[in-house]
C-alpha cells in the first residue's frame, strides 16, 4: 500500500479532535473566546450524536447541563430547542436534588448542534481522522490526519469517545467499530502510548431499538411530560415551552420470568460471562444479563420505551442493555409485555474502547505529560453525554486560555458538579466508566439545579462566554433577590384575623406577637405567594426563579450555613498550593504509600492531597511543613 503523502494544512490556535458532546463544547468555548479553532470528526453525520439513550439530564446530570449553560456552554440551549418531552424529577424531595430531564429528538439535536458549530465564526468543522500528534519538547504543536494533513496549533483537545480502537460485540460477533457502526480511530491510541500515556480498556453497552409501530402500548403505562414549563438554559423562555399534548410520552413495561429464563439458559453465549469482554463495564449501568445474574431473586426489572425522535418510529428500550447474540435478543424482547410482536430494528451491543487513565491529568484537564494537550469526555473514563460536555467546556476554556496566554480556570468541588467530577477523576482515578451521582458531591445542597447561574455566571462572563447583556440581566436578578431578602428580614407580620385564619387552615397555633416575614416564610408550609397576602407586595413583582431562590435560601438557611462553613474551611486548604515536580522521595517522614501516591497523582493543593486515599493527616502535616519551609527538592 502506498504511504499517504503529508502536506501542511492551515494553522489554528486550538484543535479539537472529535465532535461528540465533549468536543462540541470544547470547540465552541475555544472559538467564542476568540481562538481560531478546528474541530475534526470522523463522520460529519455524527456531530453531537447520542449513540445510547435519547435523553439529557436527570439527577446530577441535569445540574451539569445547567452549570454548562451558566458557563456559556451549548448543551442547555440545544436540548431546549430539540426536546420531545421535559420532566422535573424528585419534585417530592428537597431543593438540592430536584433534577430536570428531557427526552431528545436525536437527529434534531445533532443537526441543531452541527448548525450552531457551522455558524460560529472562528470555528471550522471538518471530517477526518486524526492519527497522530505533533509534539516537540514535551509541548503539543498540532495533529496529523489520515489524509496527510498537518495542522499546527497552540493547544489540542482530544475527545475520542468510544472511537478509540473501538470494538463492538454482539454475542459471538465482534468487529472493530466506533459507536453505531461508524469508523473507529485505530492509530491515535498507539501513538499516545508511544508518547508515554497509560491507557486502559473500558466497556459500555446499549439496548436494542424496536419499531414503534409494532409496540402494543395498551400493555404498558404511559409516562407523560410536565405541563409546567421547565428549561435547561437560563436563556429559554416559558412561552416557548411545548404544551404537554405536543410532547411525546415514554412507556413503562417490565421483564418477567420468561425473559429471565431465556437469558439464564443462554448465558453460555453471553460475552459478558464467556470472558470475551475484557473491558470494565459500569456497575450503575449493567446489562440485562448482568442484572439477572446479580439479582437473581428479582422477579422483574423495569423497562422504559423511549422515542428516539419525531421523524422516526424507533424506540429505545431503556433497561435492556445487552450484548447477547441477536437471536437471543429477539427471543427475550418478545417475552416482554407490549413487545410480543415488536420488530427489533437494531440489536443491542457492547463496545470496548481505550481511555486515558485520568490520574495523568491536571484539574484543568491538561495532560501532565504534554503541555498544551487536553483530554475530555469518555476518553477520560467517564460515561454520559452531560459528563462529557461538562469536561468539554473546561478543556475548551483551558485550551483557549492556554492559546491566549491567559491564566487557567479550575472548577472546585464546591463550585460545581463538573468540579466534583474532574477532581474525582484526577485525584482518585476510576476503575469503571464514571458517572456523576448526587452522592459524589459532599456539598450537594450548595450545588443545586436552581442556583447554577448564581454559582457560575460570573465565571462564564469572565471567560468571555457569557455576553454582557446576559450578565447584566443576571446581575439584576441577583440584585432583586437580595433586595427582597433584605426586605423580608425587616417587614413584620402582625397578628390579625387573616393571618390566624391562614394558620388555622394549616392546623397551626395563632400568632401572638408579630413575626418577621423572613421567619414566617421559614415555616415548611408557607410559600412566598402565601406571604404576600400578609405583607405589602414588592415594588417590582419577582419572577418565578427569583421566588424559588428566596424560598430555598430562607427555608434551608440552617443547612446552607453549615455547608458554607465547611466550604470556607476547604477553600483555605485549596488556597495552599503545592509546587509542581516535588521530589516526594526526598521528604523524610512521609509514609511509603503516601510518597508513591503523591508522586503519581501530583496534587496541586493540600486539599487535593488530602483526598488521595492512603495519604493520612500526618503525611499532610509533614507536607505542609515542607512547603512552608520552602526547602523542597524537585525532580527533573
Amino acid at each position: 500500500m502506498q504511504e499517504v503523502k503529508q502536506y501542511a494544512g492551515k494553522d489554528y490556535d486550538v484543535i479539537v479532535v472529535g465532535a461528540g458532546h465533549a468536543g462540541c463544547e470544547a470547540a465552541l468555548a475555544a472559538a467564542r473566546m476568540g481562538n481560531k479553532t478546528l474541530l475534526m470528526t470522523i463522520n460529519l453525520e455524527m456531530v453531537a450524536f447520542m449513540p445510547c439513550n435519547p435523553s439529557i439530564g436527570g439527577p446530577a446530570k441535569g445540574i451539569v447541563v445547567r452549570e454548562l449553560d451558566a458557563l456559556g456552554g451549548e448543551m442547555g440551549r440545544n436540548i431546549d430547542k430539540t426536546y420531545v418531552q421535559m420532566r422535573m424529577l424528585n419534585t417530592g424531595k428537597g431543593p438540592a436534588v430536584r433534577a430536570l430531564r428531557a427526552q431528545a429528538d436525536k437527529r434534531e439535536y445533532s443537526i441543531e448542534m452541527k448548525h450552531t458549530l457551522e455558524r460560529e465564526k472562528n470555528l471550522t468543522l471538518r471530517q477526518g481522522i486524526v492519527d497522530d500528534l505533533i509534539v516537540e519538547d514535551g509541548t503539543v504543536k498540532g495533529v496529523i490526519t489520515n489524509t496527510g494533513a498537518q495542522y499546527h496549533a497552540k493547544a489540542v483537545v482530544l475527545t475520542t469517545g468510544t472511537a478509540a480502537r473501538g470494538k463492538i460485540i454482539i454475542g459471538e460477533l465482534m468487529y472493530s467499530s466506533g459507536p453505531n457502526n461508524t469508523q473507529p480511530s485505530m492509530k491515535l491510541s498507539g501513538n499516545l502510548e508511544k508518547l508515554g500515556f497509560e491507557l486502559k480498556r473500558f466497556k459500555t453497552g446499549t439496548p436494542p431499538r424496536v419499531d414503534g409501530n409494532t409496540i402494543d402500548y395498551s400493555k404498558t403505562d404511559k409516562q407523560p411530560g410536565d405541563a409546567m414549563p421547565h428549561h435547561f438554559s437560563y436563556e429559554s423562555k416559558d412561552e416557548d415551552y411545548l404544551p404537554v399534548e405536543d410532547q411525546m410520552p415514554c412507556w413503562l413495561t417490565y421483564t418477567n420470568g420468561t425473559t429471565h429464563q431465556i437469558i439464564t439458559s443462554n448465558l453460555n453465549r453471553a460475552p459478558m460471562f464467556t470472558g470475551v469482554i475484557e473491558g470494565v463495564g459500569p456497575r450503575y449501568c449493567p446489562s440485562i444479563e448482568d442484572k439477572i445474574v446479580r439479582f437473581a431473586d428479582k422477579p422483574r426489572h423495569q423497562l422504559f420505551l423511549e422515542p428516539e425522535g419525531r421523524e422516526t418510529d424507533e424506540y429505545y428500550v431503556q433497561g435492556l442493555s445487552t450484548s447477547m447474540p441477536e437471536e437471543i435478543q429477539q427471543k427475550f424482547v418478545h417475552t416482554i409485555a407490549g413487545l410480543e410482536n415488536a420488530e427489533m430494528m437494531r440489536p443491542g451491543y457492547a463496545i470496548e474502547y481505550d481511555v486515558v487513565s485520568p490520574y495523568q491529568l491536571r484539574p484543568t484537564l491538561e495532560t501532565k505529560l504534554i503541555s498544551g494537550l487536553y483530554t475530555a469526555g469518555q476518553t477520560n473514563g467517564t460515561s454520559g453525554y452531560e459528563e462529557a460536555a461538562g469536561q468539554g467546556i473546561v478543556a475548551g476554556i483551558n485550551a483557549g486560555r492556554h492559546a491566549l496566554g491567559k491564566e487557567e480556570m479550575i472548577l472546585k468541588r464546591s463550585d460545581a458538579y463538573i468540579g466534583v467530577m474532574i477532581d474525582d477523576l484526577v485525584t482518585k482515578g476510576t476503575n469503571e466508566p464514571y458517572r456523576l451521582l448526587t452522592s459524589r458531591a459532599e456539598y450537594r445542597l450548595i450545588l443545586r439545579h436552581d442556583n447554577a447561574d448564581l454559582r457560575l455566571t460570573e465565571m462564564g462572563h469572565e471567560m468571555g462566554l457569557i455576553s454582557d447583556e446576559r450578565y447584566a440581566q443576571f446581575e439584576a436578578k441577583k440584585q432583586m433577590i437580595s433586595a427582597e431578602m433584605q426586605r423580608l428580614a425587616e417587614v413584620r407580620i402582625k397578628p390579625n384575623d387573616q393571618v390566624n385564619a391562614y394558620l388555622a387552615e394549616h392546623h397551626e397555633h395563632e400568632l401572638r406577637d408579630g413575626i418577621l416575614a423572613a421567619d414566617f416564610l421559614k415555616r415548611p408550609y408557607v410559600t412566598y405567594q402565601d406571604l404576600l397576602q400578609f405583607i405589602p407586595a414588592p415594588a417590582e413583582p419577582l419572577d418565578s426563579q427569583s421566588i424559588e431562590q428566596i424560598e430555598i435560601q430562607l427555608k434551608y438557611a440552617g443547612y446552607i450555613k453549615k455547608s458554607m462553613q465547611k466550604i470556607e474551611k476547604l477553600k483555605r486548604m485549596e488556597a495552599k498550593k503545592i509546587p509542581d515536580r516535588i521530589d516526594y522521595a526526598a521528604i523524610d517522614g512521609l509514609a511509603t504509600e503516601a510518597q508513591q501516591k503523591l508522586a503519581k497523582i501530583q496534587p496541586e493543593t493540600l486539599a487535593q492531597a488530602g483526598r488521595i486515599s492512603g495519604v493520612n493527616p500526618a503525611d499532610l502535616s509533614i507536607l505542609a511543613v515542607y512547603i512552608e519551609q520552602g526547602k523542597i527538592a524537585k525532580v527533573g
Binding site: N53, P59, K93, T438, S439, E442, P524, M573, A618, Y626
Partner: protein, 464 residues
Amino acid sequence: MTLMQTTEYDTIAAISTPPGEGAISIVRMSGEESLEVATKIFKGKNLQDVQSHTINYGHIVDPETNEEIDEVMVSVMRAPKTFTREDIIEINCHGGIVPTNKILQLLLQNGARLAEPGEFTKRAFLHGRIDLTQAESVMDLIRAKTDRSMQIALGQLDGNLSQLIKNLRQDILDVLAQVEVNIDYPEYDDVETLTTRLLKEKAQEVKARIEELLKTAGQGKIMRDGLATAIVGRPNVGKSSLLNYLLHEDKAIVTDVAGTTRDVIEEYVNIRDVPLKLIDTAGIHETQDKVEKIGVERSRRAIGQADLVMILLNASEPLTVEDRQLLELTKDKKRLVILNKTDLPQKIEMAEVKQIVAAEELLSTSVLKNDGLDELEERIAKMFFNGIENSQTTVMLTNSRHIALLHQAKDSLQAVLDGIEAGMPVDLCQIDMTNAWDVLGEITGDSYQDELLDQLFSQFCLGK
C-alpha cells in the same frame, strides 16, 4: 464523603501539662472558635468580652447537666500574639485525672477537636511563630508521636467496640443507600421510598444505642475512679521501686484529692490506658523507712478494697510466713504475683509457688534492672480488658477521642431528628445522617469514600 483536609482550621484541644507531678493541670485550646467553645462551659465573666492576655476566675460547668466540674482559672489569649498565632484558651484546673479529662471532654463535645500529637507546635510553625530550623524536629515529632498514638489507638479499639461501631455504621449505611437510590434513580418503583418516618426510626434507634454506649464512659465506675490497686509485700521486696517506676513513667498522674489527709493519698497512674488508683501508697512508703514488721492488718485492709492486687515476692530469698499469708489472703482476688529481684541468685521455692499461683498470675521482674516491667504492664492491660469483656458491660469506652466522636455522632443524629421535626425533606436530614456515619468511621478508621456507592450498586439493581 469524608473530607479530612478541613482539619487544618479546626479548633483543637488537649491536656498540655505533662502528666505526672503538680497539683494543677492545664487544658489548652487553640483556633478560631476557642473563645466560643470555652464560653459554653465556663461560668464567670463572659470570656468573649475580656481583655486579651488576662486570667479569669470561674467554674467549669457541664452545659447539658449544669453539673459543676471544677473551680478554674482561665487564660484568654487572642491572636496573633500567642504560641500558635491563633486564639488560645488555657484552663488551669485542679490536676487529677478525673476533672482534667472531664474538662477536655466538655471542650470536645462543644466544638473543639482533640489535637493530634505535636499539632500545637505544628500550627506555631505553620504560622511562622517558631524558627525554620525547628522544622525537622517538628516533623519527627509528628511522625513519631502519630505512629505511636495510632498504634495505641488501634490497640485500644478492642474488638467489641470496633464491631459495635461497624454495626452502627452499617445500619446507617443501609438507610443512606436507600436515600441515595431514591434521589439518583427516582423512577425505580421497585425500591422502597425512604420516608422521613423511616429515617426518624433509624436515627432514633442508632442514637439510643450510642447513648447506651456513652453511658459506659460517663458511669463506668472503673473509668471514673480507676481500678483500685494494692501493692503488697514484705519490706524491702521492691514495692517502693515498683511504685516509683509506675509513678515516674510519663503516663503517671499523681494527685492529691482535695479534702483528704496525707494518710490516704491516692495516686493515679495510667498503664496502657488502664487507669489504676493505687491505694494506701502511704503504707508502702512508710514500711520502707521504719524497719517495722509487715503490717498484715494494713495489708488486709488494702487487699479488701482492691480490685487488683500486686503481690511482690523476693525471688532471692525463700518464702516467709508473711508471703504465705499474703498469698492465702488474695487467693480469690484478681492478682498478679511478682517475683522480684531476679537479678540476684534465685532461692525461692518455685515448685511451691507454682502450686499455689496460677501461671497467668505469675511473672518475674527485676524492678532495679528494669526487667520484666513491659510484661507486667501487658498483664495489667490484658487482665483489665478481659475482665471488661466478661463483665456485664460488653463494651467500655476508655478513650477521650472515641467519646468525643460518639458525642458528635449523637449530636448529628439529634440534628436529623430536629430536621424531621421541622418538616425538612429527607435529603436534607440525610446530610446530618451522613455526618454521623462519617464521624463513626473516624473511630474505626473506615472512611473509604466509595463505600456508599459500593453499597448502592450491590443492594439495588439499577441501570439502563
